[in-house]
Symmetry: C2
Subunit: 224 residues, 2 copies
């Protein structure tokens, strides 16, 4: 296993984009970005990821997952509208796709396994985790253990943003020279570009840039 | 969450078939069988699973996974020939699909989550585990923890065959009335029906029936 390279799970959003630049600085070996095409309603995420990888000058692969669509029941892949209310029964956002990060990281580990790369990087964050239990540190640690037992591997899952606020993530992106790429990331739950500015994801993003005192290169691009 | 029903991961082989009949006896609620169409080279596995579910009178769903094919590098989904030798580097069989059981069980848990079913059943066995690290009890326990943290669920993964020899599994199948269904299961790595009798999977199967002193209903069907 090469401990020098890394596979970054790149969604095309601001967090995973920051992680891509973090990985480039952290690891001396080859960095690869992978994006999952899991039937997300907003195809612009895939274009954003490809654009970001290109700006970062990192090889990029899109891997398909056609399974979530057959499970149904959430707003990111199905016909349900995104709601800012939590589900009255589960207490989770209706954008929660059960098992999504578990599946992404397990496939990423299988991908890394084939390439003998031992580092995985994901942008999940517990701080602003927005109600997604699969973004918590405990979940990632348990999954890392399951993956290493299940593949007889020594994968390290890195989560550089785990305890950062959105403000701190924006500052990190600036320090890593990721702001240009940030202008091509995608966050809006409504899939709009320019972003709608009103959905929970847009609001959280705007707050982070505002608190960091840095103009969002994405909105700036459309105001230009 | 209903603790009365169960989702059984049914591959169409003898172990998962035995588990399906085990679940029917164990849980008073509805039993469902799911099979993953992950691009396995031998499509007969899917037909076997459907036939077994039909004999067991259990609803059956086939869920697609188109991701493994894009990862490459193994004999069950790729163009590589099945080998009875272990890989000199990894020490694993070349039929090992990295992460396969982790992915199957996580998707099965997501499926069960949508249906508010808390029991999952899988036929993995450590005893005769044939070199697959994702069949070990430690792996399954770690994964159960990751799933429950990641989905805020209380899924129980049941592995009734974990410490059984193939002989004991055959005896259990007989005691559960699963022998008729066993005649339509599929085991042969070469995808042949009647089974080739010479591949590692056929040899392991034949040994189990022989030691249990029970004729294999599958081979009996072709000798008929």
């Amino acid at each position: 296993m090469s401990e020098e390279g890394a596979v970054v799970v790149l969604s095309g959003g601001q967090d995973s984009t920051t992680c891509l630049f973090w990985a480039k600085r952290k690891f001396p070996g080859e960095i690869e970005a992978i994006t999952f095409d899991y039937g997300q309603r907003h195809r612009i995420e895939l274009e954003s990821a490809a654009r970001v990888a290109s700006i970062a000058n990192v090889p990029h692969k899109i891997l398909p997952i056609n399974t979530f669509n057959t499970l149904g029941g959430n707003a990111l892949t199905g016909e349900i509208e995104v709601s800012s209310e939590l589900d009255s029964e589960s207490g989770l956002p209706n954008t929660f796709v059960p098992g999504r990060n578990l599946i992404f990281l397990t496939f990423a580990a299988a991908y890394a396994y084939q390439r003998k790369i031992s580092n995985l990087v994901t942008g999940v964050a517990q701080t602003d985790y927005s109600g997604y239990p699969d973004c918590r540190e405990k979940t990632i640690q348990a999954l890392e253990k399951a993956i290493n037992l299940g593949m007889e591997s020594e994968v390290n899952i890195h989560t550089p943003l785990m305890f950062k606020s959105k403000k701190e993530t924006v500052e990190l992106a600036r320090d890593l020279g990721a702001l240009k790429a940030m202008g091509y990331t995608h966050t809006c739950y409504h899939g709009q570009q320019p972003p709608c500015g009103a959905c929970p994801a847009c609001i959280l993003r705007a707050k982070g840039f505002e608190e960091a005192g840095i103009p969002d290169p994405l909105t700036a691009r459309f105001e230009g």
